[in-house]
Symmetry: C2
Subunit: 344 residues, 2 copies
């Protein structure tokens, strides 16, 4: 019997991933390739077409009802145009929806990658059942997506929720965007790694430098060292969590969501960061906002793919997957009761 599925792509600057996703948000086939990021849009669109063939060959009986794509911004989701992503050379106003629609003869929808991940988490991950949600991804940079009343909050030209470039301080190194004090510049995984690198020296025997083989220390090394009880790493995470708490407090005051979901690479250290994030929010947020749960994302690196698929599969109102039947076999989505690790 045929299953209705969406073909989904997550077009990143380093990796291109594709999947077939069925109702309930489950990935039933997937494949990936290193993005030919410097080869221009035609080459990458060729990769998408090749990857699609690979994936469809895994499930020849699948009935593909459309294609959802998450791609780096800036992009115009309504017009279906990738405008000028800094991580993809030679992409300028590429009408990706038209190109893929013509090739495959299927409906195509486009969303920026952070918004796609936010949709994935809201519909099938940590945010399911909530009316509104702010998704924050903390890794190399900081990105985000806001879901309100059942929709991504797009704003003019789809440019809302550029939360990494919200100024939260007057200090710190200049952000690549040119401003001082961007949330991303002080609170990203990159910023954490930079602080850890500055605090240590090659050959100093510290756990941080042993984990990094005496190279630059990354955010992952800090989390690993903190798990081993390293005092310096724990202090670095405490400072990191304070910055995250300041930024999250702003997001509470500005968007008043029902829930904040933290994803990205640094979410691997969420359990270590959460107590100080909550302390900072408790100190800085106005009372009415302090009890909003802040939780870890559930879908990991697949959030963007699953969210892109949902652009095709999901037709319902907030919290109600009207156009989708829930899977009988819930294979892999954690139970909701597990998800409020940080709350309390």
């Amino acid at each position: 019997m045929a299953n209705k599925v969406a073909l989904a792509f997550d077009l990143g600057g380093t990796e291109l991933r594709g999947a077939l996703v069925e109702s309930g948000g489950h990935v039933v086939a997937h494949a990936s390739a290193p993005t030919m990021a410097v080869a221009g849009s035609e080459a990458v669109i060729g990769q998408i077409i090749t990857l699609a063939a690979d994936i469809l060959a895994q499930r020849p009986q699948a009935e593909v009802v459309g294609i959802g794509v998450g791609a780096p911004g800036p992009l115009d989701p309504k017009a279906g145009i990738v405008i000028a992503p800094p991580t993809l050379a030679g992409w300028h106003d590429v009408p990706l929806i038209d190109i893929l629609g013509s090739h495959f003869g299927l409906p195509v929808r486009l969303e920026n990658d952070a918004n796609a991940a936010a949709l994935g988490e809201w519909r099938f991950g940590a945010g399911r059942g909530t009316g509104s949600m702010v998704f924050v991804t903390v890794s190399t940079g900081i990105g985000g997506g806001v879901v309100a009343e059942g929709h991504i909050y797009h704003g003019r030209r789809g440019l809302a929720a550029e939360i990494g470039h919200m100024t939260i301080t007057g200090e710190g190194e200049r952000c690549f965007c040119g401003a001082i004090g961007c949330f991303e510049a002080v609170a990203s995984g990159t910023a954490l790694g930079r602080r850890a690198t500055a605090l240590t020296a090659p050959g100093d025997g510290s756990l941080l430098r042993r984990l990094s083989a005496n190279g630059d220390v990354s955010a992952k090394h800090v989390v690993d060292a903190a798990r081993a009880g390293d005092v310096r790493a724990l202090e670095l995470l405490e400072a990191e969590a304070k910055w995250l708490g300041i930024g999250f407090t702003n997001l509470l005051h500005l968007y008043s969501p029902d829930l904040i979901v933290m994803g990205g690479g640094l979410a691997n250290g969420f359990d270590l960061l959460a107590p100080m994030i909550r302390t900072t929010v408790g100190q800085r947020a106005m009372p009415a906002y302090r009890d909003v749960p802040i939780v870890r994302a559930e879908l990991g690196a697949r959030a963007g793919l699953i969210g892109a698929a949902s652009l095709i599969l999901w037709k319902g109102e907030a919290g109600a997957p009207l156009a989708m039947t829930h899977d009988e076999n819930n294979n892999g989505t954690p139970e909701r009761a597990d998800r409020e690790a940080s709350h309390g």
Copy 2:
């Protein structure tokens, strides 16, 4: 012939204002009284009822179709409950919609004061015709309201757009809310007056102190002195405009509106502030956001009343007053061409 009008109230901590507002947003009768702010909710509701009688007596032939109220937050606009406004003693979870609805036998709608002013400006003032807008009121504090896709962006419990308590710096005096670096704490009219007071001394012969009769210098004194060419006042406004520019840049990145509208007392100095606001936005905003107009509010102190009335009168989609016939006599609303003083 009867005209359909709304009865509107703007319930402030110092002044209670009421008006009859007809289609097109024009005030056809109004009255006000000093709010009995320490006398509890029953006394103030009695004032509202008395004021309503005064206003209705001015236009006995008017056909009142409902009552719109702007009141201080926090409040729940859907439930119609004023929760606990800091400026009104003895108000705790007051079901204002039910109380006024029972008394008058009319539909009643409630919105917080900043959101009501945002609606007024969007529907009948500087924001008319735009799809989305952020309204910022800069006076004693800083408040705001966000209109997106034809609606106030409410968030959980109507608490979104608490923009005065967005952290934008690590410096400055502690905000009354307890945090450091709130937008309001560094960029409100109060903050400007405080800086002007600290920069001068009673009896120093400065224009600022002459204007203040050697008392504390207010934001209005700074604007007046700057208009007279006072160098110190101009420098104070330049610093003020930089803070406003930092905050407005965040609002662009977070909400991506089509327009920012600045109201409140300090909008009286908008022409003096606008060049440095724009320079700061040009330096700090990412390129795609830099051309968003930032304009002065048009409705002044009446924005809240007119917006409250529109809760009753306005039934249409964004930019289209479907349920209202436009006034033939446009008496008092400036022409749209005048409104982009700052843009260029």
